[in-house]
C-alpha cells in the first residue's frame, strides 16, 4: 500500500540524523515593559506618527464623538462602515450619523457577503472600528476579527478611524498574544496587528501610502 505524501515526508524527516537542540539563552529584554501608562501613550503616539498615522487624545465618549464629527467634516464623509464591537456600540453611531448627516452602515445591514463587499469596496468613505489593543512598542493596533469586527471594515475604505480606550494600551505584543491566544482554544478566525496606513516602495524605491489598504489611519485615544 503506497504511503500517503504526508507519511512519506514525515518518515523521511524522522529518519534523518538528529542534531542537538540548542539551549535557549535569556529571552531578550522588552524595554517598553518598564514604561508608565502615560509614557506608553506617548510612545504609542510617537511611533504611530512616524508611520504617518494621526493620533488624537480625548477625555471621554462625548469628546470622541466631537472629534469624529470634526473628521467627518474635514474628510467630507458621506457614508461610513462601522463595526459593532462594544466600544463602537457604546458610541451610538446611528444617532451620531443622523446629527452629522453621515450614513452609518454595519455588517448587520447586509444579508450576504457579496452585498457587504459592494458597500465596503464601493460606497464607504471610511471604516470606523474599535481596537482590542493598542501596542506602544510600535504604535500598533490589535484587532480580533469576529462577527462584531469584520475584516474588510479596516481594510477596504480609504480612511480607517479607530476609537480606542486608553485602558487597552499595552507595552509589547506578548501581552496581546497572552490575552488572545493564551487559552489555546476558541481562537479568533483572524487576528491583525495594524500599524498606520498601507504602503509600498516597489516602484524605484519611492515610498507612498495607500497601496491597497487605507491611505490614512486616524486613532482616537479615549480616556484619562
Amino acid at each position: 500500500m503506497k504511503q500517503s505524501a504526508r507519511d512519506e515526508i514525515l518518515n523521511k524527516l524522522k529518519a534523518a540524523p538528529r542534531k542537538t537542540i540548542p539551549s535557549r539563552s535569556e529571552r531578550p529584554v522588552l524595554r517598553e515593559l518598564s514604561l508608565t501608562p502615560e509614557e506608553l501613550i506617548e510612545t504609542f503616539s510617537k511611533n504611530l506618527s512616524q508611520e504617518a498615522g494621526i493620533v488624537h487624545r480625548v477625555k471621554d465618549r462625548r469628546e470622541a464623538l466631537e472629534k469624529l464629527s470634526q473628521i467627518a467634516k474635514e474628510e467630507g464623509l458621506k457614508k461610513v462602515i462601522a463595526t459593532t464591537d462594544d466600544v463602537i456600540a457604546s458610541l451610538d453611531l446611528a444617532a451620531w450619523g443622523k446629527e452629522n448627516d453621515v450614513r452609518v452602515m454595519t455588517p448587520q445591514d447586509f444579508d450576504s457577503r457579496d452585498s457587504f463587499k459592494d458597500a465596503v469596496f464601493e460606497e464607504a468613505d471610511a471604516g470606523i472600528t474599535g481596537a482590542d489593543f493598542a501596542v506602544a512598542e510600535s504604535g500598533t493596533l490589535g484587532l480580533i476579527h469576529n462577527k462584531d469586527q469584520a475584516r474588510l471594515t479596516s481594510l477596504a475604505p480609504i480612511l480607517h478611524v479607530a476609537i480606542v480606550p486608553v485602558e487597552r494600551m499595552v507595552a509589547v505584543y506578548e501581552q496581546v498574544i497572552e490575552k488572545v491566544f493564551g487559552e489555546k482554544k476558541n481562537l479568533p478566525s483572524q487576528f491583525c496587528f495594524i500599524t498606520g496606513p498601507s504602503m509600498t516602495a516597489d516602484i524605484r524605491g519611492v515610498p507612498f501610502k495607500g497601496m491597497h489598504g487605507p491611505r490614512k489611519v486616524i486613532v482616537i485615544l479615549v480616556g484619562e
Binding site: N146, T195, S198, D202, G213
Partner: protein
Amino acid sequence: MEVKTEQFSEVAKEELRKAYTFLKAGATFVRIRRETALSTFPDAAAAQAYGAIIRAEAIARLPELLEEFEKNALSNGAKMFWARDANEASQYIVRLAKERGIKYVTKGKSMVTEEIGLNEALEKNGVKTWETDLGEFIIQLLGVPPFHIVGPAMNIPVAKVRDLFMEKIDLKEPTSDPVQLGHAARIFLRDKFHRVDMGIAGVNMAVAETGTIVNVENEGNIRFNKSSPRTQISVMSLEKVVPTLEDALHLVRLLCRNCTGQKLSVYVSMDNGPKKSDEIDGPEELIIVIVDNGRSRIYQDTIAREAMRCIRCGACLNGCPVYRQIGGYAYGWVYSGPMGQVLNPLLLGLEKTQDLYRATTLCGSCKSICPAGIDHPSLFLHYRAKDVSGDAALRAKKTPMMERIFFRLWMWAVTRYRLWNWGVRFVRPFVNKEAHGGMLREVGGLFKGWFRSRDLPAMAKKTFHDRWIEAQKTEFRSQKSEATTEKI
C-alpha cells in the same frame, strides 16, 4: 519559474556592464535603515542571536513541530494537503480551482508558489492569476524574473512602468510619478479583490503550538486575498514552522527590521482556521498546502539543512558585494543573492548551480547580517566539496576524470618544494606570454576555465624565494663590511 542558473556567468557579465549605481546606493541606504531599526533593540546582537536559536531549534525539531502544527491547524478547522513535489502541489491547487468553478485567483507574494510553477499550472488550466503585490504585479505583466526578493521590480525604470500600465491596465494619463502609477494599480487590482472567490497567499510563519498562520506585509493585498474570497489557500514550504507564538513574534520583529528597516510591517495577520459561521467576511474554507519539493531529502545532510533556517528577509542581498554589482537576474531562479546561493543549489541540485556557490569572495557579510544565523560561507565550501565528490543526495555530478587526475598530480607536485620552485621558473615565460599590462586576464588552453572568473598579476622576474636569498647575502655582506669598518 524557468531555471537559468547555468547561465550565471554570461548574465552576470551582461549585468556588470549596466553598472547599477542605484543598486549600490540603494543597498547602502537600506543597510543604514536596517542598522537604525536594529538599534531599537536594547541589545541588537542578542536579539539576532536569539532569532538564530529559534530557527536552529525549528529545523532540529522539524518533524515533530510539523505534526504539532498540523494537529492544531486541523482542530482550528483548517484543511491540510501535503505535497511531495512541485507537480503534486500545483496540480492539487488547480483541481481545487476547477472544482469550485474559479475563473481567476488573486495571489500574494509567495516564493514557494514560484518554485512550484503555480501560476503557469493555473493559467494552463484556464484559471487567470493576478499577482497583487505591486512589484510582483509589475514583473508579472512584464514577464521578467524578480530583481530582488523584497523589491522585485525596483530596477524597472518609471517610464517603463508607465508604458506598461498604459498598455495593460488602462492608465489614461501618462505620468512619471510613481505615486500616481501606484494609485492606478490600486484601482485596477481593487476590482479583482472585490470579486475574487479564491485567494492564494504564502506563509511567513506556521506556529506549531496553536496551528496559526502568520503573514507579514505592507500593502494590504494579503489581507484582501485572505478575507474577501470564500476560499483561502495558504501555501508553505515545510521549513516555515516555528515552535511558539512568542517565537514567531520575536522573528517578526527581526524580519521587519532586517527586511525593510521597520519595527513592524503595516499588517501582521494571524489566521486560526476559516471564519466562524456568524462572520460576514473571511474564508469559508482555509486550505494549507505543505510543500516538500526536495526538502526532506536535503534534511538528511546535517550541514546543508541549516540553509532551511532562512526567513526570507533579504538582508543578505543588500550586504553582498557580488549582488550589489550584478543584481538578481544572474542567479537564475526564484531566490537570488546569498539566499539564492544557499537555497537554489539544494533545491535544483549542485550540478545545475555550480557557479552559484562559487561566485563569492567568502567575505562573510551575509553571515554577519543573517538573523537566522546561517553560515553562508561554510555552506558554499560544503557544497563545493560535495560537488567535487559527486554527492548523490545533493545531486552533484562528479568532476571529470581528467580534472581529478590533474589535481592528484598537482597535489603531488606542489607539496614538494623543490618541484614547486623548479616548476614555477619553468612555467613563467609561457604564462607571462599571455599577460597584458602586467595582468593575466584571459588564458588559453588547459587553464582557460580557471581564468574565466579570476585575474592574476603577471609572474615576477624573481620569485620571493630568490629575492629573499639575495637580500640575505647582501645584508650579510654589508654586516660584514660594517663590522670590518668598525674594526678599523
